[in-house]
């Protein structure tokens, strides 16, 4: 059912456009009393959505173990080559000796990082995550190269669903203590 739009010819007053102008002035005036949309930046921070790709950080286990095993997959996948890892060894007297590797040095050059998230996607240990840190400043180039200590400090601890190294440890111990069922 088509509706015919009625277009009435303009009245005398409407043709002077004065009533429309006054109507417009009323609208702009009422707008002055609405809520302001401005976010006062340093005092109020924006709401960061979930999944936001901010600065990459390293995380620790709830048990306090550093999760990164310096497999260097993130270093190889990083498009601007912002990550530099020097792999190291965990001495076999340590309680986590079964993990065998941990990074000696881990540097992310924030001046090169493009926040793509590929390092987080590729990490087999779920050790590197992109946090919601969007404002990174420094007063020299050295300050903006985050080293291992800074990365762990920014990362903190994340809950772990798998505890894979603990499971491997108990499995190894189970094997060592004599076969069982296979």
């Amino acid at each position: 059912m088509a509706k015919v739009l009625e277009r009435k010819p303009l009245t005398f007053w409407e043709r002077t456009y004065l009533p429309q102008i006054i109507g417009g002035l009323r609208i702009t005036f009422m707008n002055m009393f609405r809520r302001k949309e401005t976010l006062e930046y340093p005092e109020q921070r924006p709401q960061i959505p979930r999944g936001y790709r901010g600065a990459p950080v390293l995380v620790k286990d709830p048990n306090g173990r550093e999760k990164c095993v310096s497999c260097q997959l993130c270093e190889f996948v990083c498009p601007p080559k912002a990550i530099r890892i020097t792999p190291g060894e965990i001495p076999y007297t340590a309680p986590t000796a079964h993990v065998e590797k941990a990074p000696k040095e881990f540097e992310i050059n924030m001046l090169r990082c493009i926040y793509c998230g590929l390092c987080e996607e590729v990490c087999p240990e779920e050790a590197i995550f992109l946090q919601d840190i969007y404002s990174i400043t420094g007063t020299s180039r050295e300050q903006l190269v985050h080293n291992k200590a800074k990365l762990y400090e920014l990362g903190g601890t994340r809950p772990d669903n798998y505890y894979k190294w603990d499971k491997k440890l108990t499995a190894e111990k189970g094997h060592a203590e004599g076969g069982g069922h296979h």
Binding site: I21, G24, L25, I27, T28, F29, N31, M32, R34, R35, K36, E37, T38, E40
Partner: protein, 366 residues
């Protein structure tokens, strides 16, 4: 004693008037930014803070939020930026154009009466004006016509496409609307030269004659036409063809940088303020209190100050009205501007004039 009076009258008072006008221009820039931002649901400049003011407990914070120190920051910016003289401009006219723009606005305010002062000798009231000339109204019309030169020279000397187009559009628009403005003021001349008035074109006598009822009540159509032409004369939206920021990058002031651009900027706001002051003087009764009420101003210094404050309050209301209209109406297209000026306003003002001729012929006592 005479020398002192001479210096006070002819050197100090113009300086005071100009500095007040310049101060009002600077704060008009701030008012424009703040009011535009409120209309657009945002907060204007609210971070500038002078180090001294920061220590005042409550007032310091309020002053920061309303952007009180922002004009000083803007002024300093214009002063300290590098003032470039591009190689491709015609140098003499390039430097002359902003001076011409500002000069016409400042000249116009020499004949405006701002308030009253009562002399101690005989208690008579005199206008607070820099130059009490008897042809005040004609002087204003003539000088504001000179304002075209600033824009045209700026557009021409900049030697580049966008300023050229802006200058052409501005000159066409300004001269078209001057006609309608002049003809719309003819009924005001008719009314002010009633039998018995000594100097009809004197702005002070026009304001005095609005003691009882303001002229906007007697001649609303003249006031409306004058207001529309005032918008066109000050190149203010909806008639800002000359500088239309979205069409012509900067219009006539594209090629201008730091301080010369500051001059144009200030000249535009000075034109706006002086134009509002002329409208208030002619149609809104200057410093008269309200239509129908007697003036409550006491006949001493306090009364003078009150008349001045009331006049400035009306002018400030009009400046805010200019800003309000800017963010309400869209810009006219160039041919629409020309059609409005020649096809609508000029015949309407001529018809208005003829109507008032007949009216004053029939009722000469009004």
């Amino acid at each position: 004693m005479d020398i002192l009076l001479f210096i006070l009258r002819y050197l100090v008072s113009p300086l005071i008037v100009i500095s007040v006008l310049m101060g009002m221009c600077a704060y008009a820039v701030l008012a424009e930014r703040k009011i535009s931002s409120w209309i657009q649901n945002r907060v204007g400049p609210n971070r500038t803070q002078l180090p001294i003011l920061a220590y005042i407990p409550v007032a310091g914070n309020i002053l920061q939020r309303i952007g009180f120190s922002q004009p000083m920051a803007d002024g300093l910016k214009f002063l300290f930026k590098e003032d470039v003289l591009p190689g491709h401009v015609k140098k003499f006219y390039y430097v002359l154009a902003p001076c011409l723009s500002l000069m016409t606005a400042l000249l116009t305010c020499t004949v405006l009466p701002f308030g009253l002062w009562w002399s101690k000798a005989d208690g008579l009231e005199h206008p607070l004006v820099l130059a009490d000339v008897d042809i005040g109204l004609l002087f204003i019309l003539a000088v504001s016509s000179l304002g075209v030169y600033g824009l045209v020279l700026a557009g021409w000397s900049s030697n580049s496409k966008y300023p050229f187009l802006g200058g052409i559009r501005a000159s066409a628009q300004l001269i078209s609307y001057e006609l309608a403005m002049g003809v719309a003021l003819l009924p005001v001349f008719l009314w002010s030269s009633r039998p018995g008035v000594v100097s009809p074109l004197n702005l002070y006598s026009i304001v005095q004659a609005q003691n009882n009822l303001w002229l906007i009540i007697w001649q609303p159509i003249s006031a409306l036409i004058f207001l529309i032409c005032l918008f066109a004369e000050t190149n203010r939206l909806p008639f800002d063809m000359a500088e239309s920021e979205t069409d012509l990058v900067g219009g006539f002031h594209t090629e201008y940088g730091s301080f010369k651009f500051g001059f144009f900027f200030i000249a535009e706001y000075a034109h706006m303020i002086v134009g509002s002051a002329v409208f208030v003087t002619l149609f809104l009764g200057g410093w008269n209190f309200l239509p129908g009420f007697a003036d409550p101003w006491p006949h001493n210094l306090l009364g003078s100050l009150l008349t001045l404050v009331w006049f400035l309050a009306k002018v400030v209301f009009f400046v805010c009205f200019f800003i309000w209209i800017r963010w309400t109406l869209p810009r006219f297209r160039y041919d629409q501007v020309m059609k409005l000026g020649w096809n609508v306003l000029l015949p309407l003002s001529v018809a208005n004039f003829i109507a008032y001729l007949v009216f004053f012929a029939l009722f000469p006592k009004v």
